[in-house]
């Protein structure tokens, strides 16, 4: 039973399309995140939600819009996809937004924009 699951795992699409990646966690955590692993393999935080409220919003194009219908779900919607959006996107969760604690990651969603 996967703790943090994201779908789809692979996504190939054309430039200009709109796509979504879904994430669900069954750990009862209050905080969820989206990370992007770029071509240089850095994992960079994009967004963080705590109890459905946005708490971290790094410098990300506004074509990227996170949506948290409840604290167990954080979906990532991307409009007008560009070649540079090709990356692996990881969803993660943690017990809370403050203090020390580990992140639990999903398996990643590899997005390829042609």
């Amino acid at each position: 039973d996967t703790a943090v699951s994201q779908t789809p795992k692979y996504l190939v699409t054309q430039m200009g399309n709109d796509k979504s990646i879904k994430c669900e966690q069954n750990l009862g955590h209050d905080t969820m995140y989206w990370y992007k692993q770029d071509s240089k393999k850095f994992l960079k935080i994009m967004f963080s939600y705590n109890n459905k409220e946005l708490i971290i919003n790094e410098t990300v194009p506004n074509r990227f819009s996170p949506k948290s219908p409840d604290k167990a779900h954080l979906n990532l919607h991307i409009n007008s996809l560009e070649l540079g959006d090709s990356a692996v996107y990881f969803c993660a969760s943690s017990q809370d937004a403050n203090g020390a604690g580990e992140l639990f990651f999903g398996e990643g969603s590899r997005l390829t924009v042609l």
Partner: protein, 113 residues
């Protein structure tokens, strides 16, 4: 700007020997550090953490050392096993800003039988 650096992209070690993975950071406000391990086609999994109030934390075969003055931490794996072959990420955060972890680019460890 890379606030967290792992200058060795890869490392090969013989089974049974010690693996030492290094991580350097530039932000003196970082006060909490984690190591993650990642197998291909899987998400990173938590390995071990250390707070800036300590200089060492041990968990089984894994030990993390923190040198605050040098802004350097290292992960020691003893003895190394073939199953340890993975990419290891160092991550750091300033706890005043919650869980905004900054990750290094990772080091690929290969443990040779």
């Amino acid at each position: 700007d890379q606030q967290v650096k792992q200058n060795s992209p890869s490392l090969s070690v013989q089974e049974g020997r010690i693996s030492i993975l290094n991580c350097d950071y530039t932000n003196s406000m970082f006060d909490y550090f984690l190591w993650y391990k990642k197998y291909p086609a899987e998400g990173p999994t938590f390995l071990i953490s250390i707070s800036s109030i300590k200089d060492k934390n041990e968990d089984g075969r894994f030990t993390v050392f923190l040198n605050k003055s040098a802004k350097h931490l290292s992960l020691h794996i003893v003895p190394s096993q073939p199953g340890d072959s993975a990419v290891y990420f160092c991550a750091a955060s300033d706890q005043n800003y919650g869980q905004n972890f900054v990750f290094g680019p990772g080091t690929r460890l290969s443990v040779l039988p």
